[in-house]
């Protein structure tokens, strides 16, 4: 029993470690890796070599003259103490930038994903109940249409309509200029106000296929023997729809839900760019553009960890949700 959890935990940690190592190697082995590029840049700006070295060291926790394994060791030990180095761009510790940006991204993405699944579950189940009706047909078509739209395209449309034409909603930033973060109603409302369009563009485009998936699941469950027996047993429609249909139809979507959160974090790069929403995706893009390797790697790592964690949680908890799975082994997310 516990054995599985332990093994799964070790595997998750191992995966993160491998990803760190791979990215570390990848960035370093790229033609003219970060240090080379940075060195070249600083040297040409007329900065003296010793200063260049000092700067690189502070940027990356890595001494440029060290051998690769030594650099790796130092990088890893620094990481373990929560030190991801300094951003070239912001001259701030990477952890500080991530600490500031991450909650916003998580807020937008977790809300979006949650909404996607809520809508998918309710709507998909309704469609399944009325399979073949006009409602079903119209909803199916709408789902497919929305799914055919990339979220950033819808984002642009929403910006034009609600931001520029109707001027109903802000098109950028996390907050209005005057609002200070804090536990005030104003702050909360303003934060929501700014997140509406990004969330809407994620939800509307993301829900389509999930709705169809839920519909399929629900139809399958509706046709199953145990629902028929439950009807014969005289259970109320309410109970059947909640405990029987919904519960069993949602099960296959559960892991998808958690992994989608992780996946969407990656999508935040485009979303936050479109909405100028300074979350981790926004900074990731900036870092990418400016070759700000410490920041890039830091955010990359965070997203990876989020993804691994999502899958990890999905695997560990699936057993709790679906009693048929003993301790997860037989049914894993992937």
């Amino acid at each position: 029993m516990n054995n599985y959890y332990l093994k799964r935990t070790i595997r998750a940690v191992l995966t993160v470690w491998i990803v760190i190592t791979v990215t570390f190697g990848m960035i370093r082995l790229l033609p003219g890796g970060p240090l080379e590029q940075l060195r070249g840049k600083l040297l040409r700006q007329g900065v003296s070599p010793s200063r260049v070295n000092a700067m690189i060291e502070s940027y990356q926790n890595v001494r440029p003259n060290q051998s690769l394994p030594e650099q790796y060791y130092e990088y890893m030990t620094a990481l373990l103490t929560g030190d991801m180095g300094q951003s070239f761009l912001q001259k701030e510790p990477v952890t500080a930038i991530i600490g500031d940006a991450l909650p916003w991204t998580v807020f937008v993405m977790a809300t979006s994903t949650l909404l996607i699944f809520l809508i998918a579950i309710v709507w998909g189940a309704l469609m399944a109940y009325r399979e073949g009706s006009t409602f079903d047909l119209a909803s199916s078509s709408a789902s497919i249409l929305f799914a055919a739209m990339p979220f950033y395209v819808l984002g642009i449309v929403l910006i034009i309509v609600f931001g520029y034409q109707l001027e109903l909603l802000p098109t950028s930033h996390r907050l209005s200029p005057d609002v200070e973060p804090g536990l005030s109603l104003l702050f909360v409302l303003d934060a929501i106000d700014h997140a509406i369009l990004p969330i809407a563009s994620m939800v509307l485009t993301g829900a389509g296929l999930q709705v169809l998936a839920m519909r399929g699941n629900a139809i399958q469950v509706l046709g199953s023997d145990f629902v028929r027996v439950a009807r014969l047993r005289g259970l109320s429609d309410r109970r059947i729809s909640v405990r029987y249909v919904a519960r069993n139809a949602i099960l296959p979507m559960y892991t998808g839900f958690l992994t989608l959160i992780g996946f969407n974090l990656g999508g935040s790069i485009i979303l936050e760019q479109v909405f100028s929403y300074p979350g981790i995706g926004y900074y990731m893009f900036q870092a990418l553009e400016a070759r700000d390797y410490p920041l890039m790697m830091g955010i990359f790592l965070i997203i990876t960890i989020a993804l691994v964690l999502a899958v990890y949680i999905a695997d560990l908890t699936y057993g709790l949700i679906d009693p048929r799975v003993k301790s997860g082994d037989s049914r894993e997310t992937y």
Binding site: S224, D225, F226, R228, V229, A230, R231, L232, R233, G234, L235, S236, R239, R243, Y244, R247, N248, L251, I321, D322, P323, R324
Partner: protein, 354 residues
């Protein structure tokens, strides 16, 4: 044909608890009959076995009893519950809520495939509780009864109730399902191939337990199977279905010893048997018809060795063979001589093994 069979049915059954009159089930807007004009009365407290090949309409018959034919099937005819009593219930005319309480409280049903009859995400106990609650029964006493039922079925009640369906073996699930179907003390238990997926030992064990349950709880049982020998020893009466119709009905012993319909006889001969001489087992030739093109006249005539012109054009009515024994065949008298049984006549007595 229906008038005579009705009267016949009535004459055989003294105290009917359910009576089906000319029940038909059609699909595809009436173009395909999957149950064709079946009339049958079920005696209170009897075990009636309904036997037929796969696809012959047995499940449809069972579902009709509870007005639970799978969509989009059309059910016609009438099903009366307690037909000769004052509060006769016309099942097919019931309101939703009335139907809801009739089912499981009066007539309950065990499906083929117990595995898929339980909600995989709920413990067994919850199935019992929700059933009790749905029928406004007192949960405590209901659970006590469940305990008792499970014990009667050779199960450990506390362990079973605390398990999820997948944690039980097939035989356990089947017995649990039977307990669940009896928890509201129904009078009639309809079982559609309750043991088809189990091995013989488990089947026989369950049959034995059913017999005990019938005694203990005064049950009427409708037992549906494609395995004639299996029910033969359990049932009081046997009904044989062929191509969506009843072709023969009679007391179990007579149905085995002296079946009248050629199909019944062929079926019995095709059944591997511990005692019959090996050389005399014969398969039933040909295929049973699909619902869309049932042969005219006697639907069995293409496979029947005795078929005549009459069989091809006329539909044989249910003819009384003996008291309480009817068969739908023009030549049932010939059948007894033309189609000898491979076990009863001579091979029967070397089967004594105990």
């Amino acid at each position: 044909m229906s008038i005579s069979s009705d009267t016949l049915n009535e004459s055989q059954v003294q105290d009917p608890i359910i009576r089906m009159n000319d029940v038909s089930v059609t699909y595809d807007n009436g173009t395909s009959y999957v149950l064709d004009d079946v009339s049958l009365a079920i005696e209170r407290n009897e075990i009636i076995g309904i036997v037929g090949e796969s696809g012959s309409g047995k499940s449809m018959l069972a579902s009709s009893l509870l007005d639970a034919v799978p969509d989009p099937g059309q059910l016609s005819g009438s099903v009366e519950y307690r037909p000769d009593e004052e509060q006769t219930v016309e099942v097919l005319a019931l309101e939703d809520s009335e139907l809801r309480s009739l089912r499981w409280e009066e007539i309950s049903m065990v499906f083929q495939g117990a595995m898929s009859s339980f909600n995989p995400t709920m413990r067994i106990k919850e199935h019992f509780i929700e059933t009790l609650e749905a029928h406004d029964a007192v949960v405590e006493t209901g659970l006590d009864r469940a305990h008792e039922l499970l014990e009667d079925l050779y199960l450990e009640p506390s362990r079973i109730l605390g398990s999820y369906p997948h944690q039980l073996s097939g035989g356990m699930q089947q017995r649990t399902l039977i307990a669940l179907s009896l928890v509201l003390e129904p009078d009639v238990l309809v079982m559609d191939e309750p043991t088809a997926a189990l091995d013989l030992l488990m089947q026989q064990s369950i049959l034995l337990l059913l017999r005990e349950l019938r005694e203990k709880y005064d049950l009427t049982m409708v037992f549906i199977t494609h395995d004639l020998p299996l029910v033969a020893s359990l049932a009081d009466r046997l009904a044989v279905m062929y191509a969506f119709e009843l072709v023969e009905l009679g007391p179990a012993s007579e149905m085995i010893d002296a079946p009248a319909h050629p199909y019944t006889r062929a079926l019995l001969n095709a059944t591997p048997n511990l005692n019959a001489p090996l050389a005399e087992m014969r398969p039933v030739k040909g295929k049973s018809p699909a619902p869309i093109n049932v042969p005219s006249g006697c639907s069995y005539h293409p496979r029947c060795p005795l078929d005549t012109e009459e069989c091809r054009t006329n539909h044989p009515p249910m003819d009384s063979v003996a008291s309480g024994h009817t068969a739908a065949c023009f030549h049932w008298e010939n059948a007894r001589t033309e189609i000898p049984l491979n076990y009863a006549e001579e091979g029967a007595n070397d089967g004594e093994w105990r």
